[in-house]
């Protein structure tokens, strides 16, 4: 019930491509879905987040698509750049009670020049 499943494990795209990372959750009590970007040697940085009452959210080149009925959400990176090469984690949490994050397994993205 607490799991968040993330795919793919790794992804290689060319500069300008649109990598897509997918996550699925089981616990319908989750109501906050963030994405984190982590560079080697750094802590995870909050990239963008969405709540179940909207189906899409854009911030700059990053877009979250959310499908509440399928219990799935995905991250799209438009016009990807070599500087986007990092590990991306999806996560989920609840606004009440246990507010800690449950993380996906991570996706290592490489954007080739």
């Amino acid at each position: 019930q607490q799991q968040v499943k993330q795919s793919p494990q790794s992804l290689i795209v060319q500069k300008g491509g649109i990598p897509i990372i997918n996550c699925a959750y089981e616990n319908t009590a989750f109501d906050y879905f963030p994405w984190y970007q982590q560079f080697p040697g750094k802590g995870p940085a909050l990239l963008i987040a969405i709540r179940p009452d909207v189906s899409e959210k854009k911030e700059g080149r990053f877009t979250i698509s959310f499908n509440k009925s399928a219990k799935q959400f995905s991250l799209h990176i438009m016009d990807s750049q070599p500087g986007d090469s990092a590990t991306y984690f999806c996560a989920a949490s609840m606004d009440t009670g246990r507010r800690a994050l449950t993380f996906g397994s991570g996706t290592r993205l490489q954007v080739q020049p």
Binding site: G43, D95, L101
Partner: protein, 113 residues
């Protein structure tokens, strides 16, 4: 957002010893968490650091091994006790904001020999 610092940033320790990690936030926060990130893996919640009361530990983590203090709303410590090589990980503190967002510190990289 939040400015979070951790000390030490990294350490190499001998097995059987203990290390205390400090987490300092630039403003008062209600909820603080400690996570572990094993090499090449995702983040796993160790415990919720509660101000004025005992920490709430996740399954698989116990107070004797990972004692936590939370003396005020801007500071917490995590001790890794009686260390073994299996404790080699990145230890991260995070804080929860009322908006639902959680922000992470830079992490403490621990190597146990």
């Amino acid at each position: 957002s939040a400015v979070i610092s951790q000390k030490p940033s990294r350490d190499i320790c001998q097995r059987g010893t203990s290390l205390t990690i400090q987490c300092q936030v630039d403003s008062q926060v209600t909820m603080m968490f400690w996570y572990r990130q094993q090499p090449g893996q995702s983040l796993t919640l160790i415990a919720t650091a509660n101000q004025g009361s005992e920490a709430t530990y996740e399954s698989g983590f116990v107070i004797d091994k990972f004692p936590i203090s939370r003396p005020n709303l801007t500071f917490s410590t995590l001790t890794v006790s009686n260390m073994s090589p299996e404790d080699s990980s990145i230890y991260l503190c995070s804080v929860h904001r009322g908006s639902g967002a959680q922000y992470f510190g830079p992490g403490t990289r621990l190597l146990v020999l």
